[in-house]
């Protein structure tokens, strides 16, 4: 049991780290949102399931936190992306100077 929990916790933390790394490496704001949202959402879910395996009596609250993250994280990201799109932030193209 504890091994499964440990694996889930490390996987979750690893995906959070990869998301943050993507945030740093990607060239423009839309790509950063992509890397940040997806990896971090799965990371948090894995962390929550890992905690749930070690503390089965916490599952109702973990379920709420998980559903909340699964619902609001993409919505928040899309809202931001829409705001940038409407404010005229251009998308990055490889042909240009690449900055």
């Amino acid at each position: 049991m504890s091994v499964i929990a440990d694996l889930l916790l490390i996987t979750g933390a690893l995906f959070c780290f990869l998301g943050a790394l993507g945030l740093l490496r990607m060239p423009d704001v839309y790509n950063r949102i992509q890397a940040g949202t997806k990896a971090v959402t799965l990371g948090i879910l894995a962390l929550l399931v890992g905690v749930g395996v070690e503390h089965p009596e916490w599952w109702p609250k973990l379920l709420i936190v998980g559903l909340f993250v699964l619902l609001t994280n993409p919505i928040g990201s899309s809202t931001l992306a829409r705001a940038f799109h409407r404010a005229g932030v251009p998308i990055w193209q490889k042909q240009e100077d690449g900055s």
């Binding site: 949102i33 990896a39 609250k61 709420i64 919505i75 998308i91």
Partner: protein, 167 residues
């Protein structure tokens, strides 16, 4: 009128289930308090636009919902491996583009869930919702792609299951 009754009932049930999950136990006091709070929430929100009106309540709806969840989790897993690969590759293999994905879902809730799902799918991010289309930022659009077919592929999988329980 019946639409409003349905809306209030749905709000009440959802608020009550949420309350039960939050307190994490089913004892007398908490059920009574939960019923009161859920009723108050439903009453206070009765005049708001019915966000949940897009729900289609039919015997097959729960099946479609479960199928949708499975599709979503599979897509989420693939999306993460995809992002991890791109982030860890030194040359950063991305070719971003904005594309429009047409949808046949009519209700606000349906489009919200679809846009949300697209954000969690590999390589795509919902940016805006027009009349009948979702504007999507696509991270890896190969030059010369058949846009029409490719954009259909982005949404088709989710729409098939979503149409089971949303309009």
């Amino acid at each position: 009128m019946t639409r409003q009754i349905q809306h209030v009932t749905l709000t009440f049930v959802l608020a009550f289930v949420f309350w039960l999950l939050l307190v994490g136990s089913v004892t007398g006091q908490e059920v009574v308090a939960g019923l009161l709070v859920a009723a108050a929430v439903a009453a206070l929100n009765a005049d708001r636009p019915p966000v949940l009106a897009g729900l289609r309540l039919s015997p097959m709806a729960p099946v479609a919902f479960v199928l949708y969840l499975v599709t979503l989790l599979r897509a989420l897993l693939r999306a993460n491996l995809d992002v991890a690969r791109r982030v860890l590759t030194p040359s950063l293999p991305i070719r971003p583009a904005m594309v429009r994905v047409k949808t046949s879902l009519r209700s606000d809730l349906g489009r919200l869930v679809l846009a949300n799902s697209i954000t969690l799918t590999p390589g795509t991010l919902s940016v805006d919702v027009d009349d009948d289309a979702v504007v999507v930022h696509w991270i890896d659009c190969a030059p010369g792609t058949d846009l029409e077919a490719a954009t259909r592929a982005i949404a088709a999988d989710f729409e098939r299951h979503l149409r089971g329980f949303l309009t």
